[in-house]
Amino acid sequence: MIRQPQIALLADGLRLHLQDGPIDLIIEARGDDSDVRIAYRAAARRFTGLLDELCAELTDLRKAAEPARCALQGVVARRMHAAVVPFAADCFITPMAAVAGAVAEEILGAMCEAARLDRAYVNNGGDIALHLARGAEFRIGLMDRPDRDGVLRTLTIEADDPIRGVATSGRHGRSFSLGIADAVTVLARTASQADAAATIIANAVDLPGHPAIERCPANELQPDSDLGARLVTREVGELSNRDIARALEAGARQARRLLAAGLIEAAVLRLSGEIATIGTTETGLLRSRIGGGRALESSIHV
């Protein structure tokens, strides 16, 4: 029997749910009804077989990305590679760090190619690819922990903003993190770039050697993890305010580097109830549109 992905509208009749193996997409398109239908059909068509495409190169995708060359064939695989290449010279990173964003981008691309949409998003487990036609905007809720409900704050992305990708990484998600951040949300030009950058920044929010942090080789948890025997964070115990500030600053430094290199547009880092935001002054985006007031009082602006 040929494995078919799950393709279904959600109960609201508006959103499309696509699932195949570990890929789980929530999609919404707005526009004329016929365009939305065509877009959804295009999404489902592109989605069918996509996982097999990726798995055909899974062994290579799980290897450290080579900065100089890309031997990968698939369009999504190559996009994953391109997204992580800027980091590959400085640290260990595999194309898998961008898989969620790259898939979201691919599906959104198929939809926008097939139909004229006012706006659309493809949300791949929190890594989101956006389409905004002129005049359209998205409100995006930031959650401090992916495993819990509750929106920390919302931000609005307008068509004129360069942002078309949002991704969140941290130690509570489905993937392992080398760092201790509860969540790092990155806004970038594409979803795959945001995905890779969020991973890198979340890894940098760290206190190496701190006794309250419990770590474990990734392959002891998932034998075929692309992280091999690298230590991933399991538990974070009580941290002092100084520790929290120090860890956030380490992540913020990394985020500022990526911002300066044009790899991200903004980032929000969160650890143990404290927040650091990067890119606010440069874009004005977070400062002006993130729900402000009291919520900002506890944040650390860097």
Binding site: R3, I7, A8, A11, P22, L51, Q222, P223, D224
Partner: protein, 483 residues
Amino acid sequence: MATEPADTSADKIRCDACPVMCYIKPGAAGACDRYANHDGELVRVDPHVILQRTVSHGGRLVPFQAIGDWDGKILQGSSTIITAIGAGTTYPDYKPAPFIVSSEVDGVDMVTVVTEGIFSYCGVKVKIDTDRYLGPETATVRAAGEAVGHVTTSEYGSQMLSLGGVHHLTGGSKKEGRVTCDTLMDLSNCKAVELTIDGGSTVVVQAGHAPIVNGVREERMRVGCGSATIGMFAKQWQGKIDEVVVVDDHITGVLSEHQAGKLLDIPDTGIKMKGRRSTPGRYFQVAEPGTGWGGTNISDPLAILGPFDPKTARPGTTLLMVSTTGEHAAYYELDDGLRPIEKEMPASLKQSVERIQENCEPALCTVLFMAGAGGSLRAGVTENPVRLTRSIKDALTRVTSGGAPVYVWPGGGITYMVDVTLMPANAFGYVPTPALVAPIEFTLKLSDYAALGGHMDHVRPLSSIRDNAEIRQRPRTLPEQRG
């Protein structure tokens, strides 16, 4: 980094549900969070889509009846399979089933018709993994002195009981009906019940647990009949022993005479067996059935041997006698008078006995609840009952019991069987009729439901049940019966 781990040790599973092919460690889930390794077995940890599920949020873990016993809530948590447990019903079913639930699955409007069936035509089939003699076929099985069923034809390695049924529930005395009903309900709710068989044994039966026959817990199921055991182990015995007898109430095997021994050129030993020879090396009725060696009544295995043939037998000939489970074993050597004398068993033979034990599976009692939903229950589902029956036969309608899969017997009516251990705890109740109340769910497409004359005006969206979180009294009338 991404090198595949070289060891494929048994505790890890390679999941083949999708092409990612995750290696999953025990207690962990794959990359999708949908499949997990539970004690070395690949299990799906989200609800299966054939039944209803909440689709507003993909990928959430939804354990089925995750915590403890059922507390009376019709729906638990935010996303769960609706079962009929506690749905309530009336008899006769002149009005629509209590809940007819629609939910959206895979873009198809699905309905789950949820009702609790009152079954007077119902019973349990009990499989007891033991060779021990429980009682003659068709003997009456009693609980608290009342007849509740009978011994039926045995199966390979197991004794079978057929309990309940309309005859005992409503055809006998009032007390007989009540005791039968209690027995069925307790067995179905996975509780331990003591049963006594006329002319046989007393056995404590509990679904999913080892049987206790006359106070002795049965540990293992035999590896095969005596003859099969000879066939399996002949090669391992060759060169280590001259003769082996595998004592079995059904077919006792003798190595030197058995085809397996002949093929290995094992010489005759002059052994003489009691009982009726079936084919070479295979003997029926070497003793009476009982709870001794290999399901016979003997405690001294030499009792099934005649004197050795002096023309063939030689002093010093070695003999192993062992039961089909390896539970009993003894080693003998023939003395100058060709009499077998018990001696300390050599280590190599002990090993072979342990091998027999190792090959025996744990003995279990298993209970299948069986009932016919052919009557007015169907009217609770549709105005044209026979169409429901036909729809099930056509596989358009899926039947489940407490969310567990059922086997629907071919032919007329909706007669089904379900493994009670797959159902949530305390899924069964009873009414004073007496009759058992068991959950039954019919799941079908909304359009098919309309086509078979369904109660379309009574279809309620799932959310309406979830929101008011109704709590119903469970239909168990005796508080002490609750687990």
